[in-house]
Symmetry: C2
Subunit: 124 residues, 2 copies
Amino acid sequence: MSRKELPLVGQAGCCTPLAAAPLSEDDATELARGFRALGDPVRLRLLSLIASFAGGEACVCDLTDAFDLTGPTISHHLRVLRETGLVESERRGTWVYYKVVPEKLASLSVLLQVPEATLTATPA
Amino acid sequence: MSRKELPLVGQAGCCTPLAAAPLSEDDATELARGFRALGDPVRLRLLSLIASFAGGEACVCDLTDAFDLTGPTISHHLRVLRETGLVESERRGTWVYYKVVPEKLASLSVLLQVPEATLTATPA
């Protein structure tokens, strides 16, 4: 695992919701990196596109075709997603294939979970 | 609801995971705003601190005491959280009170949910 990757918080796919206890400074710094990577429309669409492909894996050729952006721009965004550990890549023959790392997505998802009961209240 | 607030995606607390279908450009733009607001360690800690307080509500006086930052810096981060609809505020007497908007957190959490089965695989 490269040093730039976002570490898993707690067990794979199982961490503590924000509401459970105040986040430490170190955890907040690492988790904010993950959310910052998601905080861009192109990266969110790339992630969604990769995750939606059969088998959760997409060839970089499929991704560039879906955007009205240059190859280097797409590559930059894919690199950010890879460096934060949200996707991983593998070269097979001519093409690089990307797939989502479900444990990383899950660790961020759990962080934002709120108790069921609070969702029954009238939205503000 | 101010025009700057992050709209709920689908029903309150119930939207479509990233893997279900490729995100539209408009949805990605709005959702990325929410993640960008979470992509800062101070804002994540503020949100966690507010959510951890009894009743999910905290006085601004409780928040400033917890950080080694100036009042205006804390206020700036609280404003970003409020403008994206992640928290809401109410003035009561001398103090402003902040509380988390659970539906907004839930809509971002659901987006990052992955099928259970994919989490049983060996992490990469």
